[in-house]
């Protein structure tokens, strides 16, 4: 069940970025930080690229497909999670647009970005919790060793959530860590 380790690991990385984004929004809202478009851009790039391009396709194409076949009672949950994936991709597209607008128009456009970003953080956090609390236990219980061999092989084809296909996500994550102010990151 190496696939489950990979899912946990990707969830932890994504949750860490979401938590840091929430921290930034709170600090900006409290007037202790000013928005840094470069950092926000990296964070939006991460939460756009990693879930939509790396994490969710593996779940949709392999884990969910096999789980749907083997555990019929999981269908409702899988439907909900797949709808989340679609909605998440739409949401990140809106975030990119809102950030671009803030970059070009400045201050007043930040409120719209902030509202969208907070909504995304809340929705993705709920989604991760749902997968951890309900989906993965169902998968552990309902799938056979043969099923896991197929799922593991698919997940291990791109098993390092930090690197991405050419190492780009690893570098992106490090840039975020270096820019987010302490104590959540290493930035000043």
């Amino acid at each position: 069940m190496k696939a489950i380790d990979i899912i946990h690991s990707e969830h932890r990385a994504l949750a860490a970025v979401l938590q840091a984004l929430r921290f930034l929004l709170d600090e900006i809202g409290a007037g202790r930080l000013t928005p840094d478009p470069e950092l926000l851009g990296y964070m939006i790039e991460y939460i756009t690229q990693v879930p939509d391009k790396l994490h969710h396709p593996k779940e949709d194409e392999v884990l969910f497909r096999i789980l749907r076949e083997r555990v019929p009672e999981a269908a409702g949950l899988i439907d909900k999670l797949q709808a989340d994936h679609v909605e998440g991709a739409r949401h990140t597209g809106q975030l990119e647009t809102a950030l671009a607008r803030y970059r070009s128009e400045g201050g007043p456009a930040f409120a719209a970005f902030e509202t969208l970003a907070r909504g995304y953080v809340d929705a993705m956090t709920r989604h991760i919790r749902l997968e951890e609390a309900e989906l993965l236990p169902l998968a552990r219980k309902g799938l056979s060793a043969t099923d896991w061999a197929e799922i593991d092989a698919a997940f291990e084809a791109n098993r390092d959530p930090w690197s991405g296909p050419t190492g780009e996500y690893r570098a992106l994550y490090s840039r975020i860590v270096n820019l987010v102010p302490a104590p959540y990151g290493l930035g000043g």
């Binding site: 690991s9 840091a20 959530p161 270096n178 104590p183």
Partner: protein
């Protein structure tokens, strides 16, 4: 993060026994904390040292470094009897320790902290800065001007500058935000895969470190209750939960 095949920086894998602990009893003063502990670590090997709080993990590292009271048993490092070597001598033998307290020099710059302890070997400033780019950016800052995450990176970098054959990391993620924790896990993964040195890693979050290590030792009330490969332990949820509880997640 999952384990890949390990490559030594010297280009070949070694199976030489680096550390041998056999029937070790140790503690502090008259108090015995560790009872009858036995395990081995090969050159370049990695070990997850697990257990709930107060089970003896830090005491075991302290005993290896000569900071706790050795009472009896075998304690061999690279074929030498560690029990008769001073703490200072153990560092020279090749034991590098990153304690929980980090113990960096607050009144020295980052670069001075690194170079003051440097020993010859593959780990030099250039390689440390490659592993921790943030330290290069902060090389002129004093130790007390660093954030917690930066201090942890400096503590790890300083231990590496000793060019140890065995690196002991005592809960390096303690007190750090998840964003930094994930970054440090990725760095530790690089160390275990390409560092060419042995690594013993104490951590609360077993499921995060077991994929990074080859071997695991679980302590319960000062005794070893598991000594085997990490993969087997990682796959046994019941065992993990019974020994480590929520800390295993």
């Amino acid at each position: 993060m999952t384990r890949r095949s390990r490559k030594s920086i010297w280009g070949k894998r070694s199976v030489t026994e680096l550390l041998k602990v056999d029937k070790l009893w140790a503690g502090y003063g008259d108090a015995v904390v560790l009872e009858d502990i036995s395990f081995t670590l090969e050159e370049g090997g990695s070990l997850a040292l697990l257990g709930r709080n107060g089970m003896g993990k830090t005491t075991l590292l302290s005993t290896l470094m000569g900071a706790a009271r050795y009472r009896s048993g075998t304690l061999e490092f690279a074929g030498k009897n560690l029990a008769v070597v001073s703490p200072h001598g153990r560092a020279h033998l090749g034991l590098g320790w990153v304690p929980q307290e980090r113990d960096i020099f607050p009144s020295l710059t980052v670069e001075e902290n690194l170079t003051v302890v440097a020993c010859p070997g593959p780990w030099n400033l250039e390689r440390i800065y490659d592993m921790f780019p943030r330290l290069k950016e902060r090389r002129a800052n004093m130790g007390n001007q660093l954030s917690g995450g930066e201090q942890q990176m400096l503590a790890m970098g300083r231990a590496l500058m000793l060019n140890p054959r065995l690196l002991l990391l005592d809960e390096p993620m303690e007190g750090l935000a998840p964003l930094i924790v994930q970054e440090l896990f990725a760095i530790i993964q690089r160390l275990t895969e390409e560092g060419g040195m042995g690594v013993i890693l104490v951590e609360q979050h077993a499921r995060q470190i077991l994929p990074l290590t080859r071997r695991a030792l679980v302590l319960e009330r000062g005794r070893a209750v598991y000594n085997g490969d990490s993969e087997t332990l990682l796959r046994d949820r019941a065992l993990l939960d019974s020994w480590l509880g929520v800390a295993s997640h």
